[in-house]
């Protein structure tokens, strides 16, 4: 539903089949990540999340549908973003996390400080 109205505005190939694409002309903006968010890729995610946090104080969506695994550094980036967005009453929404990732979010209780939605639901939760 969401994807029909957007155009890609920034994209980066990160090697080993991973990529990161920001769509900032949609409301709310969406950051698509493809591949495992581990090791060096976490820095790229951090840069992009920081940029989006600065520019979109009300929050944005991180699309995790193509992310089979994320490491603890990636969780750290997500937490940093949640904390920063809270200062402006903004929200981070995670879209379609896969079972492994969803499990990590549940065990760490991060699912209580951010919003998780699946594609079929609306993303109107973000102002």
């Amino acid at each position: 539903m969401i994807r029909q109205t957007i155009t890609f505005s920034a994209s980066a190939e990160l090697g080993s089949g991973s990529s990161l694409t920001s769509v900032t002309d949609s409301q709310p903006p969406i950051l698509h990540f493809r591949g495992k968010i581990i090791g060096m890729h976490v820095e790229k995610l951090k840069e992009e999340m920081n940029r989006l946090t600065d520019q979109h104080a009300s929050g944005f969506i991180l699309d995790l549908s193509q992310v089979p695994l994320l490491d603890s550094s990636a969780l750290g980036v997500i937490m940093l973003t949640v904390q920063q967005l809270r200062q402006t009453d903004g929200k981070l929404v995670l879209l379609n996390p896969q079972p492994n990732v969803r499990n990590v979010l549940r065990v760490t209780r991060l699912d209580t400080v951010l919003e998780i939605v699946s594609d079929s639901e609306s993303t109107r939760h973000v102002p």
Partner: protein
């Protein structure tokens, strides 16, 4: 090695002649370089800023900002000053070559150029500058001390840090009658983010800690030392202050407050802190001694509780009474019984937010009763996320199976079998060496001895249960 690095390098070419730009781009891309081009000096500076190239090919004679001005601007910016510049000059311009070299260029190439000479000169420069570029952050960290001696000193500091950290691990498990305990840490680097700890509280009780600190290497190790020290102090202080009302959830809450105030949210740890009490009824009028495990969990993988339900052991666990306080999380129901074995394994799934990220985090406490023959397994996610050569993860189910099938062994025996199975799982078929694990790994096995009495007398316990 150097050639391999050089071929992945990014080269910025600045020249006002489009034909030359195209030609250079073609030659260098054939050689495997990543090439970006700029048609004038100011665009070149911009691209240098955004792309941080490994080398710049710069034409001296350009309208507007000429090559000398570009070199001067580059040298004036700390983040660009170290990028090597090779000048492109006409044959006749000897003075200008000298002027360019004086301004800070490392080499020059005369136009028209031989493509082979161009490539060789670039390779020669990169073979000197690229290794330096990659150790630059290290030089920064070492400050004035950068030298062969400095590198040796840093290496020796790391070894010392590793030794200090090893020294922080419990050398022997606590001595509690009837309780068999084994702890284990395997580090993927010289210093580690995972750790476990035992804190003896009195002759019947000890605190147990398993933790996974975010990040490996030095940052992880520093946070690890901080959390370990805080836990030792706070857990004992909590006991002194609150006695029987001491709460594991409160201990985690206090440490969370400390770390959340002092560090950024992306520095955090997942921790299980629990207190094993081998004689929880000593102050009550109950005649049968009871062993309990009271714990709180800050975002850590759920520990396993193997319940001794084997009929051959003489008595069957009364699930209803011992699980009175257990409130299973609905979505977890399918996971409560991890395996179909002789013994039932459940996950201790009371949890909370990770430690150190959010000042508002609160934690819950759960008390479980341990029967003779029960066992607990604590682990870090290094084992769940270990991959085999097909990219399959080790996972909870396999861990539970190995735990259950080696249940008859001692705590240390169970611990060894889990490690052996993990290494076997990760072993690449074509390699004989033990595989390198990507992550740190910590394990604790606690086994309630079925043969020995938990606190008082086993006969008495068995009789009172049978009644």
């Amino acid at each position: 090695m150097t050639t391999e690095i050089a071929h992945q390098a990014t080269i910025l070419v600045i020249d006002d002649e489009v034909d030359i730009l195209d030609l250079l781009e073609m030659i260098l891309e054939v050689e495997g370089y990543h090439v970006i081009t700029a048609g004038d000096g100011s665009q070149g500076l911009q691209l240098a800023e955004t792309h941080q190239p490994d080398l710049i090919l710069l034409d001296l004679m350009m309208p507007g900002m000429d090559g000398y001005a570009v070199v001067e601007m580059l040298k004036a910016k700390p983040d660009l000053a170290t990028i090597p510049v090779i000048m492109l000059t006409a044959l006749a311009q000897a003075n200008e070559r000298i002027q360019g070299l004086t301004a800070g260029a490392v080499d020059y190439i005369t136009k028209p150029f031989e493509s082979q000479e161009l490539v060789l000169r670039i390779e020669s420069v990169l073979s000197r500058t690229l290794p330096i570029k990659y150790i630059n952050p290290l030089i920064g960290a070492m400050g004035e001390q950068f030298s062969v001696d400095g590198v040796e000193q840093l290496a020796s500091h790391l070894q010392t840090a590793s030794a200090i950290q090893q020294g922080l691990l419990p050398q022997t498990p606590p001595h509690i009658p009837g309780v068999d305990i084994a702890g284990y840490l395997r580090s993927s680097m010289s210093v580690s983010g995972d750790f476990y700890d035992f804190i003896q509280l009195d002759d019947r009780r000890f605190g147990l800690v398993i933790a996974d600190v975010r990040g490996k290497g030095i940052p992880g190790a520093l946070l690890m030392v901080m959390i370990r020290t805080a836990l030792r102090l706070v857990s004992r202080e909590e006991e002194r202050r609150f006695g029987d009302k001491a709460s594991t959830a409160n201990v985690l809450k206090r440490i969370n407050d400390l770390i959340a105030t002092d560090t950024d949210p992306d520095l955090f740890a997942t921790v299980v802190y629990g207190v094993l009490d081998a004689d929880a009824n000593r102050l009550s009028t109950e005649t049968s001694p009871t062993c309990t495990f009271t714990y709180a969990n800050a975002g850590h993988c759920y520990p396993f509780h193997l319940m001794n339900t084997s009929p051959t052991r003489g008595w069957i666990k009364d699930i209803d009474s011992t699980d009175a306080e257990q409130v299973p999380t609905p979505q977890l129901e399918s996971k409560v019984d991890l395996i179909e074995g002789i013994h039932q394994i459940r996950q201790l799934n009371v949890g909370g937010l990770v430690l150190g990220s959010f000042g508002f985090a609160t934690f819950e406490e759960q008390v479980i009763e341990l029967q003779p023959g029960d066992a607990l397994l604590f682990y870090t996610d290094g084992i769940l996320e270990a991959e085999n050569q097909n990219g399959v993860l080790y996972g909870e189910r396999r861990l539970a199976q190995v735990f259950e099938s080696n249940y008859h062994l001692s705590a240390e025996g169970i611990r060894q079998q889990i490690e052996a199975d993990l290494l076997n799982f990760c072993r690449f078929e074509d390699k004989c060496d033990p595989p390198q694990l990507q992550d740190d790994l910590a394990l604790i096995v606690v086994k309630m001895n079925a043969d020995q009495s938990p606190p008082t007398s086993i006969d008495h316990t068995a009789l009172s249960r049978q009644r």
